[in-house]
């Protein structure tokens, strides 16, 4: 095996009041794919920012050796000149510029300040071919999908003569097909001699592409495992990440003791929604589902299946153009034309995108929790701050939100704690039906378990829960029934006893081309 291309020794990085990295050592061999995993907030992204010069030399302690030389990067440009390129989780592309313009942004083929378009397009085409794209380099970034955008980012990295490519959760926003392509590309680049570091939550991906994996926990590097070795099972990696053996990833379901009503708590009949701009396209096509009190009903589907669109359009017509269908609550038809009406009827929708649709990140925990149901702590339009604080303190304790006080700014919390704030906010609204859209996306294993426990409790209290998720194991672990959707249509309904990943996946991929 080749020697190390990169060594990071005893890296310590402190932010005011927080020690993000307390002692991390990372050794990456020449030509390998090296995975880094760890819970959210473990320090993975910070470590990569130290490596790429986002946190310049002098703001951290420890040494970085790249190709045997000590490196003291003062900014990203410095690290890129050495051939270290990082691709962040949030893509850094300009939507209204072309693919070619994006690839060479800041690095233009120009003479005397004027761009040489011939050169640019020729070089861009060559790079696109290397990452397996056939799109014209003058296509606008906004007109290609997220999967292709990710590949453009890699092409951009290649244009910088990358030797060490760092990918921060590259498949988080991609569907399975695009993820597969991306992972293949990483292996292909490996054959061309490019070393990669990949940060990922998805253990199956790590097993597929990585040669070794370094586990980081609480700002410390715990261990580096050889992925190809037999002992390195998924459970082995998980136990390294959480620092304990994970016997059960899901809580035991508590049974709802209440009586079963004749009518379901929420029933959606023949719901059809058109795309907000392309109004010919049906995003949700004649979908009927129902959920009873005390029941957790899952909705499985791949990207573009229309799950979020279904939920959001039911919840106050927040997405697309409604083109038919009714909502029934306890057997009676209700109006949910605005969010306020939906909330009034006891429906809550917990968004998949907490940062954009769930929270006011610049405000504190206290005010975020109370926002939806301010009237509950207000008299004649005036908020009783005393009462409000009591409520939010209660949630901080019961939901185990890790913050010193409820006056902590929500934007400073970790993903898991932010999710707990969003959940608190909607539980405080006192709904009877909760639609949870990817409630555990991007949060760490420990926090996931806590969220599952909360969901179980809600059902046990007699709430009806709709659970939308892309992670099949979590649907299998939590739900009583699972609906499957594909390309806007309902393609199946599977009771818990019959549900397996294979059954669900078959139905999730059914009918996909018929609806076009």
């Amino acid at each position: 095996m080749a020697g190390p291309v990169l060594e990071m020794r005893s890296i310590v990085k402190t932010f005011p009041g927080v020690k993000a990295l307390s002692d991390v050592t990372l050794t990456v061999r020449q030509g390998e794919v090296h995975a880094i995993c760890g819970e959210n907030g473990a320090g993975k992204s910070t470590l990569m920012k130290v490596l790429s010069g986002v946190h310049p030399h002098g703001t951290y302690e420890g040494d970085i050796l790249f190709e045997g030389e000590t490196c003291e990067f003062k900014d990203i440009r410095a690290s890129e000149q050495r051939g270290i390129v990082i691709i962040h989780q949030e893509l850094a592309l300009v939507p209204f510029l072309s693919i070619a313009e994006n690839i060479f942004l800041g690095n233009e083929h120009a003479s005397g300040g004027f761009i040489n378009w011939n050169e640019t397009l020729k070089h861009a085409t060559k790079l696109l071919r290397r990452v397996g794209l056939t799109d014209h380099p003058e296509t606008r970034i906004a007109d290609i999908g997220v999967g292709k955008q990710q590949l453009v980012e890699i092409a951009k990295a290649l244009s910088k003569k990358v030797k060490l490519l760092i990918l921060d959760e590259p498949t988080a926003a991609l569907n399975d097909e695009d993820s597969g392509k991306l992972l293949d590309l990483i292996l292909e680049l490996k054959n061309q001699g490019i070393t990669s570091i990949i940060i990922s939550h998805k253990l199956n991906e790590i097993r597929r592409v990585a040669d070794s994996v370094t586990i980081i926990r609480d700002g410390k590097s715990i261990e580096t495992l050889d992925v190809k070795s037999k002992e390195t099972t998924e459970d082995r990696i998980i136990s390294g990440m959480v620092g304990r053996d994970l016997d059960h990833r899901f809580p035991e379901r508590t049974v709802y003791e209440g009586e079963l009503e004749a009518a379901p708590a929420l029933e959606i009949r023949n719901w059809t929604v058109h795309h907000p701009i392309d109004q010919q396209r049906k995003v949700v096509d004649d979908v009927s589902i129902n959920v009873r009190r005390g029941e957790i009903v899952g909705i499985a589907g791949l990207m573009g299946a229309g799950r979020t669109e279904l939920a959001m359009s039911v919840f106050g017509r927040s997405y697309g153009r409604h083109a038919g269908g009714t909502v029934l609550k306890d057997g009676k038809e209700i109006r949910t034309r605005t969010v306020a009406e939906a909330v009034e009827h006891g429906i809550a929708y917990v968004t998949e995108d907490r940062k954009h649709y769930g929270l006011n990140l610049i405000d504190n925990i206290n005010r975020n929790i109370s926002l939806t149901a301010l009237d509950k702590v207000a008299k004649r339009g005036v908020v009783d701050e005393h009462e409000e604080r009591k409520v939010s303190e209660r949630f901080r304790k019961s939901m185990n939100i890790k913050a010193p006080t409820v006056f902590e700014t929500v934007g400073r919390l970790s993903g898991g704690n932010q999710q707990k704030v969003v959940l608190s906010k909607w539980i405080f609204a006192g709904p009877e039906v909760l639609i949870l859209d990817e409630p555990t996306r991007g949060i760490d294993v420990g926090a996931k378990y806590e969220i599952y426990t909360v969901i179980d409790q809600l059902a046990a209290e007699g709430k009806a829960v709709v659970f939308i998720s892309s992670e099949l194991p979590e649907l299998l672990g939590m739900c009583d029934r699972i609906y499957t959707m594909a390309a806007g249509r309902l393609t199946g309904e599977v009771p818990r006893a019959e549900a397996t990943q294979e059954v669900l996946m078959r139905q999730m991929t059914k009918d996909k081309e018929v609806t076009r």
Binding site: P16, N360, T405
Partner: protein
Amino acid sequence: MSTDVTDKVPASAPPGKSGGSAAGGNLLQLILGGLRRNMRQYGMLIALGLIVVLFQVWTGGDLLLPRNVSNLVLQNSYILILAIGMMLVIIAGHIDLSVGSLTAFVGAFAAVLTVQHGVAWPVALVLCLLVGALAGSVQGFLIAYLGIPSFIVTLAGMLLFRGLTEIFLQGQTLGPFPNGLQKLGNGFLPEVGPNTNYHNLTLLLGFVLLAFVVYQEVRDRKREQEFSLDVLPRNAFLLKLVAIAAAVLAVTMLLASYQGAPIILIVLGVLVVGYGYVMRNAVFGRHIYAIGGNLPAAKLSGVKDKKVTFLVFLNMGVLAALAGLVVAARLNAASPKAGLNFELEAIASSFIGGASMSGGVGTVLGAIIGGLVLGVLNNGMNLLSVGTDWQQVIKGLALLAAVGFDVWNKRKSGS
């Protein structure tokens, strides 16, 4: 001192000893620690204090002469009124460029009513406020319900109202106003009771205000303690109370030793307390912060964002009308050029006072402090006979410095 042990000492300060003698050094550190943590709130207040002290020295004590303090209030009242409304607009994530023209328009309308048509001034006052509400609601409707950007709508409004003002006045200046209306701009509280060399009613109001503020502070502290939150240790809290009391008393005495409190100061005081309360405690105020902080999230939380935006602009219209009346009353005439650049002064006040370009942040008190910073600069430089050319340069630099400081301070605290 023994109660200090139960108070949580802020982390940045060394643990407080319950022994009495150590209080001096600890107290200073506590105050410095508190300042560091609340830079945003206190920074501008301290800047205002420094500016006052500087100009007091440079003008040889003229700045804080009773007559000048009184003038300062009268000169700046309308900008402060506009700044309150503007703060709400900016917190909601919008901007309003039309308020300067609207003040002129309402002044002209008032003049046409009272001077040309002899309408009784209380009736005229109500009609003017209604006109402001109408103007604000039309703009609010276009912005909230039709989704036209506020910058465009109010830019159009700025041109439109200015033009209408000139059409109304036919390019002339109209006046004088009836006595009752003049008082709004220039009047003082009436004198009552025995001759004490001071203005009795002003003194009384000052004392009432002082009692109210102290009561509030004490109550807030008690409530915080119930949640065992970090509160200022008792001696620091007492110092804060003394500082507040000194400031209130100083202003009261200053005003009371001249002609008493200007009527507009009372109006302004009511507005500040009222709007401050609404922004902090009313559901409506919370919703303004919510839509400014994250509009999609607010929508999905059931906040009626359109209605809130509409009301914010309606409110701005009413306050602009009030400011228009005050300006006209103070000049005792309606002029086509009244209210020129007022919108910019109001916007500058809000940003100096801690508003953010992207919305969701700011307080009514901040807008007032920002407005006073500009006001004291204006007044002080006038006293020093600095030309308007240099005044503008210096005000521009003050705005840049204030916002620059805020940005720098935020970056330093790592957020």
